[in-house]
């Protein structure tokens, strides 16, 4: 990718849980304005990589820089500045179960801008909910009353609350039906274009990869074995990559993507 302006830089990352080595000498650079998809078999440490980048997991070795700031060994105060500039959608939504959807969206705004008055706050929450693709009547509902797809959308609305520059999505389309998944892809692509977002996307969904990702990073053998556009990855001769993209599902997704492009 030409003129890459790095927004996330990971150098020599190592993560171990006891005897089990998850990452060893892992490098990854994410450029401003791109949607990067992270793929890998189950247990290759995709979520651990995301948790390391966002500071929920202290790596055993390595350097991580996000938005120009060092993430390893910094104090809680320093981290606050960065936390304001990113939004995170967890795999299961991670909505606060005692708050309504709208109150969930308001949490980050209240935390950083306590002087914004409730009427304005409620209006902001309202259009963030609409932005996340939820109907207005979802606002006063509690997370336990929502379907899986709505929980993801509500999580996205909360992640977007502070107009982040950087969005982390952990398997956003997992567990959604194909129609909702496609709608979710569209939504993310649309938001990314309009709000000039950088998106770090963990996914198993081949359709999502073809539909919205600018580049794909492949995790295997404890590191990122390749980063590039899908055609670039297909040109590589790694067995896992070949199997992943050229397996029956990979081909089907590629066909769909081609048809869409032609239509």
């Amino acid at each position: 990718m030409k003129d890459c302006q790095p927004i996330i830089t990971v150098r020599g990352l190592a993560n171990r849980f006891g005897e089990q080595v998850i990452h060893e000498n892992l490098d990854l650079t994410v450029c401003r304005g791109e949607i990067i998809g992270v793929v890998g078999g189950s247990g290759t440490g995709k979520s651990v990589l995301m948790r390391s980048i966002i500071g929920l997991q202290t790596p055993d070795e390595g350097e991580i820089e996000v938005l120009g700031e060092n993430m390893v060994g910094r104090t809680e105060d320093e981290a606050k500045n960065i936390r304001r500039r990113w939004g995170i959608l967890f795999q299961n939504g991670a909505l606060f179960s005692t708050l309504t959807v709208a109150e969930n969206v308001e949490v980050p705004i209240r935390e950083y801008f306590p002087y914004i008055k409730p009427p304005l706050l409620d209006e902001i929450a309202s259009y963030k909910i609409a932005m996340g693709g939820l109907p207005p009547d979802a606002g006063p509902k509690y997370p336990s009353e929502l379907s899986g797809g709505m929980v993801k959308r509500a999580g996205l609305a909360r992640a977007l609350a502070l107009d982040p520059e950087l969005l982390f999505l952990d398997e956003p389309t997992a567990g959604l039906d194909p129609i909702s998944a496609a709608a979710f892809d569209e939504l993310i692509l649309g938001l990314q274009k309009r709000l000039d977002l950088t998106v770090f996307l963990i996914t198993h969904d081949l359709d999502t990869l073809y539909a919205i990702c600018d580049r794909v990073a492949v995790l295997a053998d404890r590191k990122v074995i390749a980063v590039g556009t899908i055609p670039e990855l297909l040109a590589l001769d790694h067995p896992w990559i070949q199997e992943y993209f050229n397996g029956p599902r990979g081909r089907a997704a590629a066909d769909t993507a081609r048809e869409h492009a032609e239509a």
């Binding site: 709208a102 308001e106 963030k128 909910i129 932005m131 509902k141 509690y142 336990s144 107009d163």
Partner: protein
């Protein structure tokens, strides 16, 4: 008005005030804006929508942001509707009564379901998971020995010390032994053990089953054909019914030990005298009273814990709530039953 610099969430409150302070007709000049986010766009859009404000000097990016927030202008409520406070309190009271009635009926139903489960286990004992029961014996009984022993030992000392202070006034310190012997064996050994088991195991039962309910483990069991009552509830009940008398006996011994050490060191009554005197003043019926109550308390604790755990429906907050209820309910029921037992045993002459 002309907005300069950043039109973002950081300045949202002050810009909102400025816009409100401007008189109609309002013209907003965005040519000096360097950076705008959706919150800024929302403030401008709102002025356009509500006050027919004119926007001039907007850059193409700003225009697209304004269009975008306009597209998402769908007012949503933030909280569920609440009625007037009087009716709300009335409604809450009604809900509480209905809920209490349902809980009582539910508890009865759950009791019935466990009886059926017991019958199934008895008719097909080979299919029953005895391993699970043994494991519960360990968790409920053996692992509680330390804390219950220590607690009872200290209670023995406290009873001895408090009793001695009062009885010394009459020169009747020797009766401290009567006090220690009778109160620990008849009442406190069992009661304190029940409270400790309710706090330790009753709460654990509720939390474990509640979590399994949320993660759909219990649904998975049902679909496989394993009865959750037989696999989860009955082992816990057997464990707490069997372990309670044993723990209560252990608690009595430790209390007697604590009291004995106290009277030896503080009142100078040698251990041999203490034991002889205990034998003379504590009737065997006291031990029976204590030990008969124990399995009943154990059953109540397991019943309340498992029942509350199985009631968990939706979210993790409910697990905490149900766990609290389980402990409160079981301790309350234990004390009520203890009072009933006290009346019963004295009326059959085991006073």
């Amino acid at each position: 008005m002309r907005i300069l610099g950043a039109l973002t969430i950081t300045r949202a409150a002050s810009i909102n005030r400025e816009i409100d302070a401007e008189a109609d007709p309002l013209v907003i000049d965005l040519s000096g804006v360097e950076r705008m986010d959706t919150v800024g766009a929302w403030l401008v859009y709102r002025a356009v929508r509500d006050r027919n404000a004119k926007v001039v000097g907007a850059s193409p990016e700003a225009k697209s942001l304004l269009d975008q927030v306009a597209e998402f202008d769908k007012p949503a409520k933030v909280r569920p509707e609440e009625g007037a406070s009087f009716f709300r309190i009335l409604a809450e009271l009604g809900e509480w009564i209905v809920e209490s009635g349902r809980t009582l009926v539910g508890l009865l139903g759950f009791f019935g379901a466990t009886l059926i489960g017991f019958a199934n286990v008895v008719s097909r004992p080979k299919r029953f998971r005895w391993n699970a029961v043994v494991q519960r014996f360990d968790v409920v009984g053996i692992r509680a020995l330390g804390i219950i022993g220590l607690m009872s030992f200290l209670i023995g000392i406290v009873i001895g010390q408090q009793g001695a202070v009062q009885l010394q006034q009459f020169g009747a310190e020797i009766y401290t032994i009567n006090l220690i012997g009778r109160i620990t064996v008849r009442e406190l050994g069992t009661l304190m053990t029940a409270i400790m088991v309710a706090g330790r195991s009753g709460s654990a039962f509720a939390a474990q089953l509640g979590t399994m309910k949320i993660t759909e483990e219990i649904d998975a069991m049902r679909t496989i054909g394993v009865s959750p009552i037989e696999a989860l509830v009955i082992p816990r009940m057997i464990a707490s019914v069997v372990m309670m008398p044993l723990l209560a006996f252990w608690a009595m011994l430790m209390s007697l030990l604590g009291g004995g050490i106290f009277v030896w060191l503080s009142l100078g009554i040698p251990p041999l005298t203490y034991v002889q005197r205990l034998q003379e003043v504590t009737p065997l019926t006291d031990l029976w009273v204590g030990l008969i109550k124990a399995p009943v308390f154990g059953f109540i604790i397991a019943l309340a814990g498992c029942f509350q755990g199985m009631l968990v429906e939706s979210n993790s907050e409910e697990v905490g709530l149900r766990t609290t209820t389980a402990v409160v309910q079981s301790i309350f029921l234990v004390i009520v039953l203890d009072a009933v037992f006290a009346v019963f045993f004295s009326s059959i002459g085991w006073g």
